[in-house]
Symmetry: C2
Subunit: 210 residues, 2 copies
DNA sequence: CTCCCGTACGTACGCTGTACGTCTCGACAG
DNA sequence: CTGTCGAGACGTACAGCGTACGTACGGGAG
């Protein structure tokens, strides 16, 4: 058994979250998984909150933000958004942990820097770039949280709508659209909204330069 | 002191969340606020999870979803999204509780029904309406969570970026745009993205009918 | 050798949700 | 009036939580 260290603790935490969900995370549980006393963890991690920050940081730094500065900005922002969505695939149950912690470290800032520089190079003004960035952040995070089931408003996490669940008198549309509400190709839906946003922003840019 | 009942418990829970945050909510704390034994709560509420569901339901049912079926769909969608955002104003610290709980009750379904029927009346197909609905949900929820500070990725909840916080060598854009990143008119930014989405969708609709 | 410090660990405190048993009090049947 | 009964309030108890604190050990420095 190698000596206890910070990265082993973080790895155990991520593993635990993915196996049993973020609610299952406790210092005692992690220590048990590592076959170690609870308080030994505190030699390498100051507290639980910092451990979750480290989890977020680790996952974020694994995302591959490949970027081709020569490509058109529309493709670049699409790639960046899709790269971010990879988190929902590689670490679905950790997604909420990742997005709910503000990281001041390089791992947290790099995606922001990349996105902002892409938008600036595309020709957007300072305030404009920030606004557009925030719109994308909101959409991407909202999509991720729906996909992983944190904000379950009619995304079928576990077979959402059963017949008899809704009264067709009161909610005719929900009843009629139930089959579509129960199925969801997350990737296709994500790309649909993403392209919609990019298209709208490209429209604004074109309209202004003419 | 009126007799204990479910609605007084829910009101106390909401009050506690708004005063001290969702993490401060515990059955003991609520009972203390009501000057009542802890276990008395369980005569009116089956468990804590159901209590939080009731909190979500109560807040959601207070949102005023006024809708004018005669107005153009673009305005109706905008109104509905803005009505939803009211939650972030009336109950900021409860927002995460509201959006993270799937409600099968009327209070939870009504906004969905309204939105879907608006989109259907606008002429969108079944699958299309659901997709567009999901895009709006993602954007609205992402915006709300940023506004109330749950997903704090560079929205200034409490003065985000202090000078010296970022290395201008590594993150030139973040450094240059720091003033804009530190300030945020939530309403204006929300409307900016909302109009962007509506504009893009209207474009698709127009393009198809020609 | 001694000293010292970092690491591992046990114990303990105050907190959590809630299962269970008990007590009290008002309503109603006889 | 009295006996019964049900509902609601409440105390106790248990398992689990984060973590402050004290202790023990093992290896490098002097």
């Amino acid at each position: 058994m190698p000596p206890l260290n910070r990265s082993r603790i973080v790895a155990a935490a991520i593993d635990l979250i993915e196996r049993e969900g973020a609610d299952a995370v406790s210092m005692r549980r992690i220590a048990a998984d590592l076959e170690v006393g609870v308080m030994s963890l505190y030699n390498h991690v100051p507290n639980k909150s910092a451990l979750l920050d480290a989890v977020s940081e680790t996952i974020l730094s694994e995302v591959e933000f490949t970027d081709d500065p020569a490509a058109p900005w529309t493709g670049r922002v699409r790639m960046q958004a899709q790269a971010f969505r990879q988190i929902a695939h590689t670490h679905p149950r950790s997604t909420m942990v990742v997005v709910s912690r503000q990281l001041k470290s390089a791992a947290g800032m790099l995606p922001v820097e990349r996105a902002l520089s892409t938008l600036r190079e595309a020709g957007f003004g300072e305030q404009e770039a920030v606004q557009i960035f925030r719109v994308f952040i909101a959409y991407v995070i909202g999509s991720l949280l729906r996909e992983v089931g944190v904000t379950p408003t009619f995304a079928p996490v576990h077979g959402a709508i059963r017949p008899g669940d809704v009264d067709p008198e009161l909610f005719p549309e929900i009843g009629a659209l139930a089959p579509h509400l129960s199925a969801c190709d997350h990737e296709a839906e994500f790309d649909f909204g993403l392209d919609l946003l990019i298209e709208a922003i490209a429209g604004r840019l074109a309209q202004r330069t003419t």
